[in-house]
Symmetry: C2
Subunit: 352 residues, 2 copies
């Protein structure tokens, strides 16, 4: 199978994906009979370009900003939705930056792609948090794939684990420190560094955004909690439904000062079933030393699932980054090729 890709967004993740597809070209072809070509790229700042089904290796070598031999370059795109519809791609990759308060314009991008008969892989969690049911319903009706492994914990296989490895399993709760910036900042505060300095450190490492409030105030974690609750537990939450208790810079300083010896402060996401409803929250937890999450280093993240078949099952991502996120996109692309049915039995009826 040959899949033609349109990359919406071409930043760190988009470029890491091109490198990974180029590096793994032989394995993907030999093990999955799968090859890729780029039908187009688009960025909000530089514009878009239709490409001649260009191999990842050739696209990677062209560098960025991309320039065709002969001088053709990215140009303004007047109507991005028309660009998505008309670019001859099989799969649209939604890799633009998250707007955690609306999920837009990524949701519109995905809707346009599906309506035009193109499958979608999104690493942008906004659309799955805000429009999971609608978009998955649309994909199902059109017989298309909509995959999103990289929306939580980078490419750590969470949704694929639930779909392929936990058949007939009910997930009735989860918890974990999902926000890297908060993890990093709290780990620096734990050794005496002031919050502002720790935030600057996270920014220098490329972990934190220019505005760290999305992370420290729990919005990023709320969006992740929504995706997890809706997909894994069949909930129908919006990010605003996730309780955010005592978060933010002031609360972090106060909670850090109140810690007992042996405790470690983490920004935790938690969801559980309560009377048939799923309740989710983000909060600062003084973890006891018996909790493995207390011992994650600054850049590590993790998720514990509570299930009826396996009891508790915990996944820890050693260190995240654009490469790990790109890998989740690769896994999604392979699963599109392996399993054209967009909604495997394990997820039918969940989150729909």
């Amino acid at each position: 199978m040959h899949l033609r890709l349109l990359s919406l967004g071409y930043g760190n993740v988009g470029q890491a994906l091109v490198r990974m597809l180029a590096e793994k070209e032989a394995e993907l072809r030999e093990q999955y009979d799968l090859t890729f070509g780029y039908a187009g790229i688009y960025t909000r700042s530089s514009g878009g370009l239709v490409l001649p089904d260009l191999s990842p290796a050739d696209l990677g070598e062209a560098g960025w900003p991309y320039t065709l031999e002969g001088g053709s370059e990215l140009g303004p795109v007047a109507d991005i939705l028309a660009f998505i519809r008309e670019t001859p791609a099989d799969v649209v990759l939604e890799l633009t930056a998250l707007d955690p308060h609306s999920g837009q314009p990524a949701t519109d991008h995905i809707r346009a792609a599906l309506e035009a008969g193109k499958s979608v892989v999104t690493a942008n969690k906004g659309p799955i948090a805000y429009a999971c049911r609608e978009l998955r319903q649309l994909a199902t009706e059109r017989g298309l794939a909509l995959r999103f492994e990289s929306t939580v914990l980078d490419g750590t296989p969470i949704f694929d684990l639930a779909e392929f490895c936990l058949p007939a399993t009910r997930i009735f709760g989860f918890q974990g420190p999902l926000n890297s910036t908060s993890n990093y900042v709290l780990s620096r505060m734990a050794v005496g560094e002031p919050l502002e300095q720790a935030v600057r450190g996270a920014q220098q490492l490329g972990v934190a955004e220019a505005n760290p409030a999305y992370d420290l105030d729990g919005w990023d974690a709320s969006v992740k909690a929504t995706v997890l609750a809706n997909v894994l537990m069949g909930a129908d939450l919006q990010p605003a439904d996730v309780r955010r208790d005592g978060l933010g810079a002031e609360a972090m300083r106060a909670a850090q000062a109140r810690l007992q010896p042996g405790q470690t402060l983490k920004q935790m996401v938690e969801a559980e079933e309560q009377g048939g409803e799923v309740a989710a929250r983000v909060y600062l937890a003084p973890l006891p030393s018996t909790d493995v999450f207390a011992h994650l280093s600054g850049m590590e993240t993790g998720l514990r699932l509570r299930t009826d078949t396996m009891g508790e099952l915990t996944l820890i991502e050693g260190e995240g980054g654009p490469g790990q996120t790109a890998f989740g996109v690769v896994a999604d692309l392979v699963n599109i090729a392996r399993r054209p049915n967009p909604l495997p039995p394990s997820l039918r009826g969940k989150g729909q």
Copy 2:
């Protein structure tokens, strides 16, 4: 799809499986169009019985020892291999007790089943440790499935994770405290309990065998290391190839006495590539408090994979037992139904 099962071994795991298949009957039918019937059961102590494609619910209600209406009971089986060949089953479940020094007679059971055209799910790790290549080759030639998710960390999805969730990924090392008995005994010794008393406690909890040496001396862990190295890393080890350094009761007492403050002693399994070869060992590790494995409770186990795509990825099983092992068998059965091809592309060429 309807799968007829022959259960070799009908102890804690076999009976937990019957209960789980009965409890999950609706989910398995609705989500996977999959139903099960028992074509036979066999135990080394009580003998065998051909069953009339009996539903898990009916078999579970019959209790144990199983008695048919009218008085038909388990009887001596003169030739177990002929019994395996002739029982009209689609899938043979190898759930007999492990012989960690030979993998027999379970390897013969599996070979007979495959030669007779029956797929196999084994929770017994002996055959996969001692005869992985031969048995998988045989399954491939016959177009049959051979699955073994429950051989390591009960049903925690390790092999399914590698197969379905880590496409195009090279696993170049792993480590983890895989032996529950050692974990439990060391956790008790850490709070001052003598080793003998801790072993008795593990036996009373049903974690340790009557002879704890298989666990404490690292044989159980060696067998697991072999399975992991051969399947995940394409090695061709035998359990005797796994180095076992400084293990056993005396070494545990001495290492515990030498621990520095903040360290936790664990029996660890570790494998890595060294010059194109895979080297594996079992050893007593004084883990620093920064290692999450240092904070697993007595009954918890875990495995860290080192990969080229995701970096480090860690799985922790909260609490193992017959129910978790039975779940791994259910997952294998579902994957047989979902994917008749016994060797999906991700594992072709690995461990073959």
